[in-house]
Amino acid sequence: MAARWLVLLCLLSQSLVFAAHSFENTAIVRTVELGGSLVHVTTTYAVKSLEAGSQKYVIALGEKEGKSTSYLEAKLKGQNDALVVEGHALDPKDGAYHYTVGLPKPLAVNATVNLVLDTVQTHVTYPWPEQASQKEEQSLKYESDLFVLSPYKTATQRIKIRAPSPRIISHTTPEIPDNFATDSIATKSGATVTYGPFTNIPASANADFIGQHQKHVVVHYLYEYPVVEVTTLERTAEISHWGANLNIENSLNLHNAGPKLKGQFSRLDHQSQMFYNRLAPHVLPALTLHLPPGVHSTYFYDLNGNVSTSRFRPAPSVPKASQSNQYSLLELRPRYPLMGGWNYSFTFGWDSPLADSAAYDKNTGKYIVGVPVQTHVAGSIVDEAKIKIIFPEGATDIEIFPPFAPLSQELSTHITYLDTTGRPAVTFKYENLTDKHVGTIYVTYKVPLLAHLQKPKAVAIALLSLFTFAFASRRVDYRLTKS
């Protein structure tokens, strides 16, 4: 069954005696794609099995690396199915994070397999120099440990760091002891800095190797796009059965994580840059968001009120769960351009027909709705996200299926227009969401027919009380004099 396995990160904190079988890495190649706030790392392990029947391969990440990794997926090279990965807590003795990958088939002796590990690192780049004026360029520094750690021996290892443009200001050339080094330690060609190849590296996922041999590298590169960080995101999805509508509202705190603005903001400089279409790379004047097709009635406001500098280009509705690439476009222009270090908080939202996101099973009476986790702002990282899904009044048997495990989830009651008993709501909390975290949360629930009538009943009772008051009041004599 070509099932897609979930990446499970259950943290087991017992001390680790690996039931791992023996392997040997014939080659490890790591490619680091530098970005603004996100760094994508792809590590390919060419693995040779030394024992028959080995099926659990252990991947190690250094302490700093493991802490900054917010997405991890392991696959066999050339295949699409993610393998089951089990994460373990940081081992203080080793100083490394270990992940056990379950290979789909046990390997015979001397069998080889190619494992591809995709990770996304967050908060590993910082602007340098830390301040830049409105007219200056933006450059970032990426710091990382050099060697790829592994609990097995590695025959050869190479690390490639690829910057988004060939303008790399500097990169460190560490001193490598002779037993690992070959003739080239660090070479820069175009936009890529290649470290290695390094040969005959022993089992490195332990404190000895890390203490003695691990090197630190820093790449200083120019970055031509604004570094966007969403410090908090609150998404609320409200399901309405009477209106057949799914309303999604997002409250964002946007932060420009580039170099802080040096000096005062000059409107004159900004206007002249806009006129010649040559904005400094760290200035964020507008955001372009891709919304699902079929949405309508978008709104964009902040604390001061409605922000009219936006443009919505709708796309026609597509059937539920279709794989089409259609999207509606929402261009938002905040009230002021975001210079380095500046923040902007705003709310935007839309309505969409419920048929585009929800399905109904007549036999079981279950409704199932898919709510996307985030509308990703290109290249950004979301530090904290809270996603709240509000069900119709009287929903029961609520089941939730998040695409990746949340930090916490809780049930609450949300009260809004025409509610009597309130609507059940589920709140998910996430941390460090990247461009890989764009899944859909599926929820199922049941609403009996009588619960649908709760709102008209509530309004009817209110009107009836008015009629009762009128009935009583007609029978009272309000005349001032008896004549």
Binding site: H241, N247, K362, T416, T468
Partner: protein
């Protein structure tokens, strides 16, 4: 609420894709007209209620009040949906 009884994420995704899409009890395009009709009826009945004689046994008044309230209940919900407050 909590972990699914028998389903996991891929099963939920497949279920979402395969089931027929949601369709409301009352088609959404009709809601403005339904709101108008029901609220006019409610208003008319309320006016009629005010003209009824004051009987000892208020059967007529009760009947008119009940129908007006019921129609008004649905009419207000339809009105809310028409103006964009999807209740």
């Amino acid at each position: 609420m909590d972990s699914p009884s028998a389903m996991d994420y891929p099963a939920a995704k497949l279920l979402h894709k395969s089931l027929p899409p949601f369709s409301p009890l009352v088609p959404v395009a009709l809601l403005p007209y339904i709101a108008f009709l029901l609220l006019t009826a409610t208003f008319g009945l309320a006016f009629y209620f005010s003209t009824l004689p004051k009987d000892k046994l208020p059967a007529r008044e009760a009947a008119v009040a009940l129908t007006a309230s019921a129609l008004g209940g649905f009419g207000v919900v339809a009105l809310f949906c028409t103006v964009g407050v999807y209740v």
